[in-house]
């Protein structure tokens, strides 16, 4: 099945992805960001926060946004 994945980590692009039926949000996160912890991200499905065991449906929109994003100062930038 196909879902829309909005990855605000790194490039920040939105892509359609094919995933297996019955994939939970938790499992999807582990597949996309295997070296990261879910607690370090804001995870939204269809613009809403969901529990980690939420099972994705076709056409769902999943967005992942880091909770820690470093700003800078102009003289350093």
């Amino acid at each position: 099945m196909q879902i829309l994945f909005v990855n605000n980590n790194g490039g920040g692009f939105a892509d359609f992805l094919d995933i297996n039926h019955g994939t939970s949000v938790d499992r999807f996160f582990a597949q996309q960001l295997p070296d990261s912890l879910p607690g370090d991200y804001l995870i939204r499905v269809n613009r809403q926060p969901v529990p980690r065991d939420y099972v994705l449906s076709p056409g769902d929109r999943v967005s992942i946004t880091p909770t820690k994003i470093s700003g800078a100062s102009r003289h350093a930038a």
Binding site: V6, G11, G12, R47, T65, I69, S70, A72, S73, R74
Partner: protein, 398 residues
């Protein structure tokens, strides 16, 4: 139409118009870059035709004159084309050279506003205004309470997105950094957030009309402290205490002692008049003769009395007091009576000089040779050189 629907419709219209202008500007900018090589192509074409004409008529001299000009034009064109290619592959260029994104639909943007309301509690557009406002919760970074911030997204400034974010950050109850009343947050100065790592994802979110993601990213940037490059570090937020008097200083008006490396205010700071290093008064001292501020490294002990003295006061490697005393001593020595000196000198001569041979004033009479001829010559010569002088003796020692 209820007011809130009017506001939502106003936001949707502004966003779509802004993104439309952004897309058009990008295409226009890219077209200008491609067009910039046209004059060079024309010049090269002209030179090439001239070369062809000269070649056909066997004007070898003309051909020789044209060749370096053609080579130079090719070089310039190659350089320009390489620049265009490099621009296409630059990281930021990936956003410019993506296919134009379709404008977000009104229903999409309405869903964005709904998400903004659930994430931030509310959003606001001022009547007649063109900015969308949301507020964060109070923010505390490493124990420093900064209170809440208002995020303003300027919906009429999307066409400048490639140059700056259409964003302003307002402190609702600011806790300004010490000595910097335009820094209410380590990464905000003069209401401008330095987006750092967030720049690319912010730009991409806005290009696609993902307003909720945009504002979430801004909020997460405000709630994250990057100690590597703040406008004002949190450690210095309440000011840096002077190591001497304890008064609070900002990073701009503090001075660091070049010896002890502590920070001092301008009242507790000076300069060594000898080596010109900027030092605290703890590392400086005062020369007891000239009163100049001198560092302890530059102060040297007088070899006579051992008292410390600055380099400027030394005379003939002596401190002023010892030098003056020495001068006085020499002056006293020069004024002793002449007789004493002569007596002293005579005593010195008797004791130290070998006894000269006893001499009489009348030179001895030489024996006259028997032979008359030899005697005439030799005797005459002897009489010319027969005078003997007594030995000269040096008077006085040195």
């Amino acid at each position: 139409m209820p007011s809130e629907h009017q506001d939502a419709w106003r936001v949707i219209t502004l966003v779509r118009n802004g993104l439309q202008r952004l897309a058009e500007n990008r295409l226009r900018n890219q077209a200008d870059k491609y067009a910039s090589i046209n004059p060079m192509l024309q010049r090269l074409s002209t030179l090439s035709r001239g070369y062809d004409h000269a070649c056909r008529r066997r004007f070898t001299g003309a051909c020789r004159r044209l060749e370096p000009r053609i080579a130079d034009q090719i070089r310039q064109l190659t350089h320009e084309l390489q620049g265009l290619m490099a621009g296409r592959h630059a990281p930021q260029a990936s956003l410019i050279h993506q296919p134009p994104t379709a404008l977000p639909s009104p229903s999409f943007l309405l869903a964005e506003l709904d998400q903004i309301e659930s994430e931030f509690g509310s959003w606001e557009v001022l009547k007649g205004g063109s900015s969308l406002y949301v507020s964060t919760d109070p923010i505390t970074l490493e124990g420093i309470h900064l209170d809440a911030f208002e995020i303003e997204l300027r919906l009429d400034a999307f066409d400048r997105l490639d140059m700056e974010q259409p964003l302003s950050i307002h402190a609702l109850d600011p806790n300004w950094a010490s000595g910097a009343d335009d820094v209410p947050h380590p990464h905000v100065r003069d209401e401008r957030l330095c987006t750092g790592d967030a720049t690319t994802i912010l730009t991409q979110a806005l290009r696609e009309g993902r307003l909720a993601d945009y504002l979430l990213i801004v909020r997460q940037t405000l709630t994250t402290y990057n100690p590597d490059s703040p406008h004002v570090a949190l450690d210095d937020w309440d000011g840096i205490p002077c190591h001497d008097c304890g008064c609070s200083m900002t990073d701009d008006n503090r001075s660091v002692c070049e010896r002890c490396d502590y920070s001092f205010c301008e009242d507790c700071f000076g300069c060594c008049q000898s080596c010109a290093l900027y030092l605290c008064y703890g590392c400086l001292t005062s020369c007891r003769f000239c009163k100049d501020e001198t560092c302890r490294e530059c102060m040297k002990p007088c070899p006579e009395c051992g008292q410390a003295c600055c380099p400027g006061c030394f005379e003939e490697e002596l401190c002023p007091e010892c030098f003056e005393a020495h001068q006085q001593k020499e002056s006293d020595h020069d004024d002793q009576p002449k007789q004493e000196i002569e007596e002293t000198q005579d005593d010195e001569n008797t004791c130290s000089q070998p006894s000269p041979p006893e001499l009489s004033e009348t030179p001895a009479t030489p024996e006259v040779p028997d032979t008359q001829e030899a005697s005439d010559i030799g005797f005459a010569r002897y009489n010319q050189t027969s005078t003997i002088q007594p030995l000269a003796v040096d008077g006085g020692g040195t």
